[in-house]
Amino acid sequence: MAPDNPAVVGEDGSMRVLFLALGANRRLAVTQESARLAEAGDRPVVLVDDRNTWAAETFAPGVTVLSLREQAGGHWPTAAEQLVLFRGPTFLLRRLGRRGGRLAGAYQRRIADRLHHRAFLPLYRRLWPDGADRPLDAFRRRQGRFDAILVTDPQSIPAARRLVGPAGRPDAPRVAFRIDQLLVPADPGDGMNHKDRA
């Protein structure tokens, strides 16, 4: 049977694919699927929320990893929150050595992340309706267009919606939830080689 969707390719035959991994809870899919693309000569970019959360993971050569928290977008409350709630405390805790690394991780998961999502983000949305989205907008301005967006976890779905842009945009990137959706199978059910067909 023929594929229902053609491969998504750039002008040079390679795809520029954005992996949205802001929730960091499906890591194996992110590292392995981005590696598959990079090995095929494509240009995967992985956007994570916090680079530290992914410290234990290994990304393949050719995979660009960027952090949303490093895209402050000129929004001073977000930058201040990052400094006071995340960077400052984790920097100090990590000074305590190996145990400090574990403490920093626990602090971030149990306190900082919860405060960020339950207190700061709702506050920003109330006080500065577009403030919470500024890092993502800054990321989009800097990175330009992607051929496709691969959504890898629930927390990334709203970001994908924002990056896709207004409804009906003709050059909107395709959105996938599994890398196979963007690749044309050379042999149904087995290995993929979209460039053979593109």
Binding site: N5, D153, P154, Q155, P158, R161, V175, R178, L183, P188
Partner: protein, 402 residues
């Protein structure tokens, strides 16, 4: 009318969970020759810590993203694979998980019903409800239950009610073990006539390059969890390894015990003999079965125990607990296939079972007989015939009133 079949399932192998739903994929592959078009709707539960506000925002964004979604990918047998993410917070009741999957599938379908005259759902509420809520009124409906948490689904009032709804609507309800059939027959005596036993299809076509000549290379394939008994397996292996340093053990899989097992391997001084591969794609795990000598599977409970049959398909004997599924799948060929042992918290049964098996291997083990028997029971052709008979009448049309 074409022989079109839609399969709706919460479990299907993915990069994140390469083993989950391998039996559904096997069923799709096995039935490919008897259908003209097959579409798999993988309603993949994406569970995360979410606040109610996040949950609502994600649901709204997913609905708006639907028009931009790339088309289906391809899976075994040329079937189309539609990936439907089902975002949800942790610890939802089963019926709500199923309802969310139904909503997500409706979004993915653009509000249209599933375009197939035959719809086969896997995993009770989690695949059955999305199928039931999105299929055509005239579609024929079948369900296969594999879930080891069937009793917990039925214990929830909403879960029980939704299950009853599925049983009323479906023409046949397949289960993979007597345990499940008894549970459902007790809960829904009025639907006992619809319950049928079915096997997970297994590939017996790939031969083993060289037969097993001794039982040195042990293999475990599955989740690294207490429910699989993998902690006792490691301890038992260390005891046997002390007496025979030629033994090795490969643990394939991931799970909550991974870091503890890593540490225990070092404490026991068997680091040179034990390999933890992590999760592997099912094809690689099957390759390993053809390269090892003995599958040791000391699970506490299994509804079917597909890995045991896969190991025998790969030409290796098994040392396996009587944990529900294996004593059924190996009925009549227990001795030919290897050794069955009691479920026990400890190492004694595993060690004693291994020694008994060593004492009578290879003279009193008949792997060819075990393999032939299992192929007849669980091979692709057997499973395809069973599905074909249920889905279509003799003229190849979807049939009614069976």
């Amino acid at each position: 009318m074409a022989r079109d079949v839609a399969v709706v399932t919460p479990w299907y192998p993915s990069t994140q969970l390469p083993f989950r739903g391998a039996f559904v994929r096997a069923m799709v592959g096995a039935t490919a020759p008897v259908v003209s078009r097959s579409t798999v709707y993988h309603c993949d539960p994406w569970v995360a810590r979410l606040t109610p506000a996040q949950d609502a925002e994600i649901g709204a964004a997913l609905r708006e993203l639907a028009p931009y979604a790339a088309g289906p990918s391809r899976t075994v047998g040329g079937a189309a694979l539609v990936t439907v993410p089902v975002p949800m917070p942790r610890a939802l009741p089963f019926a709500e998980q199923g309802s969310r999957a139904a909503d997500a599938l409706r979004v993915a379908l653009g509000g249209r019903p599933i375009d197939a005259p035959v719809v086969h759902a896997h995993v009770g509420l989690l695949g059955g409800l999305p199928a039931l809520r999105n299929m055509r009124e005239d579609a024929r409906f079948f369900v296969t239950e594999h879930a080891s948490f069937l009793d917990r689904m039925l214990a929830e009032p909403d879960g029980y009610a939704a299950y009853a709804e599925m049983l009323v609507r479906c023409e046949a309800f397949f289960v993979v073990s007597d345990l499940m059939r008894n549970l459902l027959a007790e809960a829904f005596p009025e639907h006992t006539g619809k319950l049928r036993l079915i096997a997970n299809p297994i590939d017996f076509a790939t031969p083993r390059p060289a037969p097993v000549t001794d039982l040195h290379r042990w293999l475990f394939v599955g989740g690294l969890s207490r429910s699989k008994g993998v902690d006792w397996l490691l301890e038992a292996f260390a005891i046997c390894h002390r007496q025979d340093p030629a033994l090795s053990l490969t643990l394939v899989g991931e799970g909550e015990l991974r870091s503890k097992l890593d540490a225990r391997v070092a404490e026991l001084g068997v680091a040179d003999a034990v390999t933890l591969t992590g999760a592997l794609a099912p094809e690689l795990a099957l390759d390993l079965m053809r390269e090892h000598d003995l599958l040791v599977h000391p699970s506490r409970s299994e509804t079917f125990g597909v890995v045991v049959v896969e190991a025998l398909a790969g030409g290796m004997p098994v040392l396996v607990t009587r944990c529900g599924g294996p004593e059924q799948t190996l009925a009549g060929i227990e001795s030919a296939a290897g050794e069955l042992i009691a479920v026990e918290d400890g190492t004694d049964e595993i060690v004693a079972g291994y020694r008994r098996l060593c004492d009578r291997f290879p003279a009193d083990v008949d792997l060819a007989l075990a393999r032939r028997t299992l192929d007849e029971r669980y091979g692709y052709q057997a499973v395809a015939r069973l599905h074909e008979a249920a889905w279509f009448d003799g003229a190849g049309q979807p049939s009614r009133g069976r």
